[in-house]
């Protein structure tokens, strides 16, 4: 079972996070302040840790910095109530791998942690990605489903590539915006749905089953046809 370290000073929030991660199959440890976080972070091998920026005793970013300089490479999700662009940049520089702004949906949290937990495994450098009948050649920039060529615009290709690399994982709209469009704020619009809708029409046109599923309240998920 993969372990997650939740560094969060608010007891109720920490409890809710532990519950939702626990029901998704993670073992969760909670650290309530900076000192405890350092001890736990150094002591055990975690798949992912989440760090609240505002901590008593020690700032969240300082915790990450110290763990990193101590050789702890655990993928880190920084959680903050501050929405400024500068903060996100600083958080990522300190060794955080992703950034989530409070308030967030637990589904979003879970999606991010899944993505980070996967990242900690070996990253395969493939040039051809396959999911069921779907095949994407990254070098030739071509996509096929059951040997039928699919015409994709560059952005649609990027979107599909990201889905393929995260096969079976729930990807939130914010994650898609950040990773495909490099947009780091909520544009308050259904732009992602529009693109996913187009992509879906194109890749499902030659197949019997829908590959991209909508996950209510969170985002989308690409699954091999069952």
């Amino acid at each position: 079972m993969r372990r997650v370290l939740v560094i969060e000073d608010d007891a109720e929030t920490a409890g809710q996070m532990a519950d939702s991660l626990g029901s998704a199959g993670y073992a969760v440890d909670v650290a309530r302040n900076g000192t405890e976080a350092l001890e736990r972070g150094r002591g055990a091998d975690y798949a992912v840790m989440t760090v609240d920026r505002m901590l008593p005793e020690l700032d969240g970013l300082e915790v990450v910095r110290r763990l990193r300089s101590g050789g702890v490479a655990t993928p880190t999700l920084i959680i903050s109530a501050l929405g400024e662009v500068d903060d996100r940049v600083r958080g990522l520089r300190a060794g955080g791998d992703d950034y989530l702004v409070k308030p967030f949906a637990f589904a979003e949290l879970l999606a991010r942690i899944d993505a980070l937990a996967r990242r900690s495994g070996a990253l395969v450098k493939e040039t051809v990605l396959r999911v069921g009948e779907l095949e994407v050649d990254l070098l030739a920039r071509r996509a096929r489903r059951a040997a039928v060529e699919i015409e994709l615009l560059p952005r649609e290709f990027q979107l599909l590539e990201y889905f393929m690399r995260n096969e079976g994982r729930v990807l939130s709209r914010a994650m898609l915006l950040a990773n495909v469009w490099d947009v780091h704020f909520d544009p308050m619009t259904n732009i992602v749905d529009v693109y996913v809708g187009r992509l879906r029409r194109k890749i499902d046109a030659g197949g019997a089953t829908a590959l991209i599923q909508t996950v209510r309240g969170v985002g989308f998920c690409l699954n091999a046809a069952r």
Binding site: L82, G83, E84, V85, D86, V89, V101, P103, A105, R155, W181, V183, H184, F185, D186, P187, M188, T189, N190, I191, V194, Y195, R198, G217
Partner: protein, 486 residues
């Protein structure tokens, strides 16, 4: 009148009055000094002339005595008196017992007995028609035969003349002082009353509110300018305060309504048995809470952008590339509504800014244009002012914004009536404005019938860099250590 006496008290205490008083004092002292010099030199000159006349007359008489003795002296005196009978010349020859022998003075003055020399005296019998005994000045001499000679002049008129000058000077200086004091007080009073008007307004503002203004007197002097500047500062503060109040009222309204709705729903659910509808109710409540949280996040974000220090974290941003990306991002959304988002412009147009904030601002504008415009949206980037400026415009073909509301759409929570039913929280354009201000970009709305054109006018990076170089050059020159000193 207590008000007048209070004003007088303030006038007397004011520093302007003290300064005026000092000036008046110095001026009066120098004027008095000048008059005194004129007076003393005039008096001295007149006295000198009289004495010289007396000495010359005495010399003449002594010469006559030397040549012809007492008879010649008396004959000369008689001749000189006959030549100028009404003149103020005094002659007296007296024997050893000071009994008059010849001349026009009745008796030998007691002050001149026993010694020779200059005397000034009053003789009651000289010019008896005069009101007071006139003042006479004479010189006496003893002659070789024992008789005595007195030669002199009536200097009463001269004395009266210098007295007039003295009085004139005294009155003049006194008048001058009085006038200067009156002028000083009136100038000071004016100053004090203007300052008092400002003070009274300040007190009224502290006591009641920002509605008060300092009265202008249409003199267009420096006081009116000060009052006008203070008034426009007050206008600005009042507008800001009103804005803050408006925002907090809007927050209260826009957030209380959904919160009340949720509260009611939850209360009803609490009183009913658990059942099928619970999941839907919870999902709806969570969605509404998300909207409220998003609104808070937007508000905080606008404040953060507004409070952000200028230029911190800025870098060159390719506005052409960025606009192209936004157009590309929204083209799909526009297509759903049967239109397109087209970008017209070239990449490579650089501005100094924060890429993410600019992207967000432009996203807001294009999103609005797609939602409210009908059909196509154009995003145009054109250089202006000879390359010193870049104009980034978003045009739609929708109903536009009425001229009366164009200013207000940038206010937080302000929404056009017709967009109330559609999504959005009325904060998008506030953020756009905050980002524009951070980038020193002008923002303008125009009606292009049909449609709306929103325009950002950015200073181009080339112009910015040039300006920065101009600003930095003198600083680095100052900062450089002087090689001669080292």
């Amino acid at each position: 009148m207590p008000l007048a006496s209070a004003l007088l008290g303030k006038t007397l205490r004011s520093s302007t009055f003290r300064l005026a008083l000092l000036c008046v004092g110095l001026f009066s002292a120098s004027i008095a000094g000048l008059f005194a010099y004129v007076y003393w030199s005039t008096a001295d000159y007149l006295a000198g002339r009289y004495d010289a006349g007396i000495v010359a007359e005495e010399r003449l008489l002594l010469d006559a005595f030397e040549r012809g003795g007492a008879p010649a002296l008396q004959a000369l005196i008689a001749a000189r008196r006959a030549a100028a009978p009404a003149d103020g010349d005094l002659y007296l020859v007296a024997d050893q017992a000071y009994a008059p022998v010849a001349g026009n003075l009745r008796s030998w003055p007691s002050a001149a007995r026993g010694h020779d020399g200059w005397i000034e005296f009053r003789a009651p019998d000289w010019r008896p028609e005069a009101k007071a005994p006139p003042l006479l000045r004479a010189v006496t001499a003893s002659l070789p035969d024992g008789t005595r000679l007195l030669v002199g002049k009536d200097i009463d008129e001269t004395r009266q003349f210098t007295g007039v000058i003295r009085r004139g000077i005294a009155i003049g200086v006194a008048l001058l002082c009085a006038m200067a004091a009156v002028a000083g007080i009136s100038v000071t009073r004016r100053t004090v009353s203007r300052i008092e008007a400002i003070n009274a307004t300040s007190r009224a503002i502290m006591a009641s509110g920002l509605g008060e203004r300092i009265p202008l007197r249409d003199t267009r002097d420096e006081w009116d300018q000060l009052a006008a500047n203070l008034n426009s500062m007050l206008d600005r503060i009042e507008a800001l305060v009103r804005g803050v109040k408006q925002v907090s009222d809007n927050i209260a309204h826009d957030l209380r309504t959904p919160l009340m709705r949720m509260r009611g729903r939850l209360e009803v659910a609490l009183g009913s048995p658990r059942g099928e509808g619970d999941a839907a109710l919870l999902a709806r409540t969570v969605a509404e809470l998300d909207d409220i949280l998003k609104t808070f996040a937007s508000l905080l974000r606008i404040s953060a952008v507004e409070a952000r220090e200028r230029k911190v974290g800025f870098a060159p941003v390719d506005l052409g590339k960025l606009a192209g990306e936004v157009a590309d991002l929204f083209d799909a959304a526009a297509e759903e509504r049967g239109g397109h988002v087209r970008f017209q412009g070239e990449p490579g147009a650089l501005v100094w800014g924060d890429r993410d904030l600019l992207f967000e601002a432009l996203t807001n504008l294009v999103d609005n244009a797609v939602k409210h415009g009908r059909g196509d949206v154009e995003v145009r980037l054109t250089p202006a002012a000879g390359g010193a400026e870049l104009i980034l415009a978003v045009e739609d073909h929708g109903p536009g914004i009425p001229a009366g509301e164009q200013k207000r759409v940038f206010e937080r929570f302000y929404r056009l009536e017709r967009s109330r039913s559609t999504g959005g929280n009325g904060l998008g354009l506030s953020l756009v404005q905050a980002v524009a201000q951070l980038h020193e970009a002008r923002i303008a709305l125009a009606d292009i019938r049909p449609g709306l054109r929103v325009e950002f006018c950015f200073p181009a990076l080339a112009a910015v860099a040039q300006h920065a170089a101009e600003v930095a050059a003198p600083q680095s020159a100052r900062g450089k250590p002087d090689p001669a000193a080292a």
